[in-house]
Amino acid sequence: MDTILNTHIVVVGNGMVGYKFCEKLLAKRKSEGEFVITVFGEEPRSAYDRVHLSEYFAGKSADDLSLAPLEWYAENGIRLFLSDPVVDIDRDEKLVRSHHGHVVHYDYLVLATGSGAFVPSVPGVEKDGVFVYRTIEDLELILSYARKAKRGAVLGGGLLGLEAAKALLDLGLEEAHVVEFAPRLMPRQIDEPGSRMLQSQLEALGLKIHLSKSTQEIIGEDCIKGLQFADNTFLDVDMLVISAGIRPRDELAKIAGLETHPRGGIVVDNQLRTSDPSIFAIGECALAHHMIYGLIAPGYEMADVVVTMLTGGEKEFHPFDMSTKLKLIGTDVASFGDAFIEEPACKTIRYENKAKGVYKRINVSPDGKTLLGGILVGDADQYNMLLQTCKSKTILPPDSEDLILGSRGGEDSGAGVMSFPDDALICSCEAVTKGMICHEVSDKGCHTMDAVKKSCKAGSGCGGCVPMVKDIIAGVMKQNGVYVRNVVCEHFDHSRQELLDLVKMNGLKTYGSVLDHFGKGDGCEVCKPLVASVLASLWNENILAKDRATIQDSNDRYLANIQKGGTYSVVPRIPGGEITPEKLIVIGQVAQKYGLYTKITGGQRIDMFGAHLNDLPQIWEELIHAGFESGHAYGKSLRTVKSCVGSTWCRFGVQDSVTFAIEVEDRYKGLRSPHKLKSAVSGCVRECAEAQSKDFGIIATEKGWNLYVCGNGGSKPQHAQLLATDVDKETCIRLIDRFLMFYIRTADPLTRTATWLNKMEGGMSYLKAVVVDDVLGIAEELERDIQDLIDVYQCEWKEVVESPELRKRFSHFVNVPMKDPSVAFETMRDQKRVKEWA
């Protein structure tokens, strides 16, 4: 195709693909004047990241999702009309006319009108409370309706339907149902055993799943009340999200007389040309190779093909790989390559673990040499690796089951990516290969994910390749011998570990002096709490004294967790979960007096919520008087040491776990660390205290105690690993002393012990060598340092209660002795709770 100056391009649709088309056209054009670009968008805002739409519910704003600000269009000379759909095309005169009456001439017209939600013709779809899930406006409507709804359903158990259902659950609906016409979930992406595993995982999350259901009518007067199914059953819901598939937006193409498919979609050839050679269609509105590609990566590829041709190159759109990894539904699901191919055309290896909710299937070529495709449910960590292995036709190792089971020798995952060939496609959304990323890292000095994203766009699409890109960055830097430094923020050019050593050597005790010596500027919300934690870990002085109150994170600053409405929670220490009736009564009395909501926590103690800032010192004065101490529920410090009842009562107990748990909790209480610390002691192998999910956990044996370290609950659970076997109490404590102090000294900020270990070179064997065998010769020093901290422990709440100067800061207003009048409460199950925020 010849290029002429001032070629007029009109793009209809400012969605993801329409935007990408503009971006690529600007990048590939030979001169500024080559194209005059006009874009019409029907939505009120410029293109945004629809793929991550659900994150809008998790607090992302429309701006966070935006692909480019309005200035971007202006700066690049693109005329953008928003809220102004194109309504007519005059193909003879090559003109488009918009709803607002703008008439614009084109040399080439690009239709990127995307698709809309397909709404089946069920009676009642027009009722209030029935929604679709496609635009930010849809989500805004859902969000406001969900506030007064209790039970929601999603029609459709496919990729988007499940994402929408999870979102309903996260929005706080009491029940979220999925209604699917087919006999199983996601029939197009995964096989039957995969569907079943997915279903049980989703049910465990709280989704209610109804299969083989054909919806006959949506019941209700003006608002939806429920769904009537063909099998005479009924589902009682007060809101419904329809996600029954997509319908390509081909109405404009139809008006213009372009060829469309009876089932929807603008028919295009390999070059994305419609039946009119001056008009292209790309993205979800285009029907290429007899299908609609409802994913972003093929859409971007289509944009690239058209741009290449308009700028004088040659390229065709080939049938595109439909591999996907689902996000945001609470459990991993992925399928890649040829997922459904059956023997004898391949050899299939399946792995199923019902207890863990994991199902994996890979299809290997009959000669065992290459990977053809597969399915992952419950654990898709290997998705990127497998996808690459599949696409680049890497020759498989003899034991191909290692691909899904992991080689049982424990080799590090980074080596995997580094062994790929340079032309392995890493980011399929932006078509970036491994070689290109290596080049950015080595030659252009892009050493962070953000820098790589900016310079070559890898990872800026669906984000699925981000872990691999990170591995490549780390791998290349290691190969180049670059020392990876994690500096704190713009104010400190040091890592936490370096800062800790510097502060220690110089004996600094205030934030101001640390900033003066080793930093610059005025500090910020990143370095302040970090230095606060370092100071506390080194000296264990009261965290609110000297200039330290205002550098604490809000929770530490007021020695309580800030909660909705700006109220605080109060958690006294109850070591080992053991408490006398007298103390229980005091908790009851205090809660009653100050109107607090009480709850037994997951950490075997009692949380009192809803305390006014002004009341905190008085509440603590009364608790301390009754013998309680701060529970540090607000601090990056020791939380609880859980215990089971142990040999004192339990017929299986082999040691007294309660006594040991109390001793451990008393020893390490108040110890400040890079992140919070949790522990537990179980009285026998039945492990009722869940010690193996803790930062350090102890399990009684016939001969003594087993010590486990670096476990984690939370969102990424990880089992603790065995550090020592059958040791006596003294040895156990000594090892914990060393372990904790080594962690405090070397971990990055806000890194739990499990993550710290995962990043540690040499892993568990190195940790063991340092803590147990003392290969670094620092054991004695570690023990001494921690003993110094333990010796100066004081209950920080007691110090506050006794100091009028510190007490004065616990007041909402500085000029009137009044509590915050804007805090409002409501009643829930006979207790008071703070009003929901807007």
């Binding site: 701006d63 500090g523 205002t550 550098i551 809000s554 800030i562 915050d820």
Partner: protein
């Protein structure tokens, strides 16, 4: 008149009730500057901006809301990590150890 200078912690903030409005006042001692803003954070309407940590970003004085760490310029009130939000700022005058705010 809002309060005495000692009512506001050094390099931190406090909240004053002025003409029925909650105003956050900051004593940015490190820079020898005083600032005043709304106490309400526009993100989730929480009355806690005064309890946030202050600091700077490329030299611009800022405060971080303790709830979700939206940070606001103390100079312009513009939210620095989310263009959608902005808070009001007010002029501050310190005379004879008393702090005065212009609403």
């Amino acid at each position: 008149m809002a309060c005495h200078v000692d009512d506001i912690p050094t390099d931190g903030g406090g909240c004053a009730l002025i003409e029925g409005k909650q105003i956050a006042i900051f004593n940015f001692a490190r820079r020898g500057e005083w600032y005043a803003t709304d106490n309400q954070c526009p993100h989730r309407q929480q009355m806690a901006v005064s309890r946030g940590m202050i600091g700077s970003q490329d030299g611009e004085a800022k405060v971080a809301c303790p709830f979700h760490k939206k940070t606001f310029s103390l100079q312009s009130g513009q939210c620095l990590n989310d263009d959608a939000y902005k808070i009001n700022t007010f002029p501050v005058m310190v005379k004879e150890n008393m702090v005065y705010i212009g609403l």
